[in-house]
Symmetry: C2
Subunit: 306 residues, 2 copies
């Protein structure tokens, strides 16, 4: 049996370590990236280079895409130099970008018409999850295609779930992002309230983290917010993209999501204030500015007067 | 050494089991409740009855109050037949009701003037936490008073933290409720989105529960929301009280909390729709009605057309 040939398009902060896991598992890999320099470490480890997504697909049985925005997905998959143009019958296209459910269905239809299979397989877990191969991968597409791709996906993550037909992976990711969005408002408003009330924030966290108010975001982001460490796990600008997709899909489904709509507006404000390249937990800065609160540089900074 | 004599005012769904834990630990207890019948099981187990909060305090070294609303706290602590009127010098008044930080400070001042000590010590963990004695107890007041009351509090909970001066316990509870409030919007909007998108909700939970979108609320409430089980863990009407306190305190501190303000409005709508006596996770019903979505009776009900 010949090894499955892997193509990988998009070798950024997520894509590069993910592609590396497949190489480490012994799959022969051909890569393309808009900026070749960012693929260098993979090339040095033995990946082949191709000059376009189309050329990648010509040398691969399964082609992964992990790029930035839906327009990028459209270009690298459906464009004239895109992967679909180079894909032979039986090839599987796996888009792991967080993108539009409707685009996932469009890709499915276009690929299907040429005897090419496709999956939408966005992930959660961030750059750390990508590096440590413990991503949650939410997959839409035909079940038998999912089963064929599953051994490769298991090199990248620990929670690999088939969610339904084409687009279902993206829809699941949107549900994930809706949870994250209002969850971050919860964390930031609670910390801001506690700060204005003159409480000692680490002590507050002792009381509220273990019970009904607890969350992954509180556990992982509150300490960074208290330390004023806004280095991105996940970029504000990318989160705004995701919320825009979710709200557009909700509008298409005639579904009102007032909480998500508010969070999007707060993040748009945060980006307008110049913080689009910070991490999503920088939301506390926009909320602090709203009330002219200066967020302290360290948790030991003196609290404001009672 | 004579055993500390305990007074307990308010033997409802929270207070009765909490008082029972102190009795089980060997403390002699005198109780009062507006409806005597609801204290019966404690009286049968050997608690003494007193005809007023004042009379309770006349027979106790530490007097706990666990009642409904701030007005109730004011009456049973500061009223003419309240605990303070009966308390001797050195008595400790411990209000465990979720109530106003400003009222906690008012009680502290009034008590202090008579040589009586006080703590505000609201809890999280709900009726189950009360029954199983694993509450989180957030305490405001003087540290030495906290240390004196701590052995009794440890009979009631597992996380007992001194948060600062009078009012700090209530402020911490407000931070807890701010987390819970937007966290519930997150859970309900995400489930509603996933449902409208035609996804299988238990399968979605497999993908999103373990990572950055995970929370106590998602783990504990989502299954009940899917089962359309809206039996209260925590009542909508009581949660509206808590959010009202938090928003009033925030206004006093000149702090804008747009997320919390929106959640309060959604819960006011839910109560207006007749669901004030359901559990807080019934928020999904108000959000569903907003978009004329009929929330299915069981997770296996057919999804709406795509």
């Amino acid at each position: 049996m010949t090894a499955i040939r892997v193509g990988w398009i998009g070798t950024g902060v997520m894509g590069a370590p993910m592609c590396g896991h497949l190489m480490a598992s012994g799959y022969p890999v051909t890569v393309f990236n808009r900026t070749r320099e960012r693929a260098r470490s993979l090339l040095e480890r033995g990946a082949a280079w191709a000059d376009s997504p189309r050329a990648v697909a010509q040398h691969a049985d399964v082609v992964f895409t992990m790029v930035g925005f839906p327009d990028d997905v459209r270009e690298v998959v459906l464009g004239p130099a895109g992967a679909l143009a180079g894909a032979g019958r039986g090839t599987i296209l796996v888009d792991m970008t967080t993108s539009e459910p409707s685009l996932a269905r469009e890709i499915y239809e276009a690929a299907h018409g040429r005897g090419v299979a496709s999956l939408d397989a966005p992930v959660s877990g961030g750059d750390i999850g990508a590096r440590e191969a413990h991503l949650s991968i939410m997959v839409g597409g035909e079940r038998d295609v999912f089963e064929r791709a599953a051994p490769l996906l298991r090199c990248l993550g620990t929670t690999i779930v088939h969610q339904g037909p084409a687009g279902a992976g993206q829809h699941t990711k949107m549900a994930n992002q809706i949870l994250v969005a209002s969850g971050m408002v919860a964390v930031c408003e609670a910390l801001l309230y506690a700060y204005k009330a003159g409480l000692d924030l680490p002590t507050v966290l002792q009381s509220v983290s273990g019970g009904a108010a607890g969350s992954w975001s509180l556990t992982h982001y509150a300490p960074r917010i208290l330390a004023r460490d806004f280095v991105p796990g996940f970029l504000v600008d990318h989160f705004i993209k995701d919320m825009g997709i979710a709200l557009a899909e909700a509008q298409r489904m005639r579904l009102s999501l007032p909480g998500l709509a508010l969070v999007e507006q707060l993040y748009l404000a945060l980006a307008a204030q110049g913080d689009g390249r910070k991490g999503t937990h920088a939301l506390v800065l926009a909320l602090a500015r709203l009330s002219a609160v200066e967020w302290p540089a360290t948790p030991s900074a003196p609290p404001p007067p009672r």
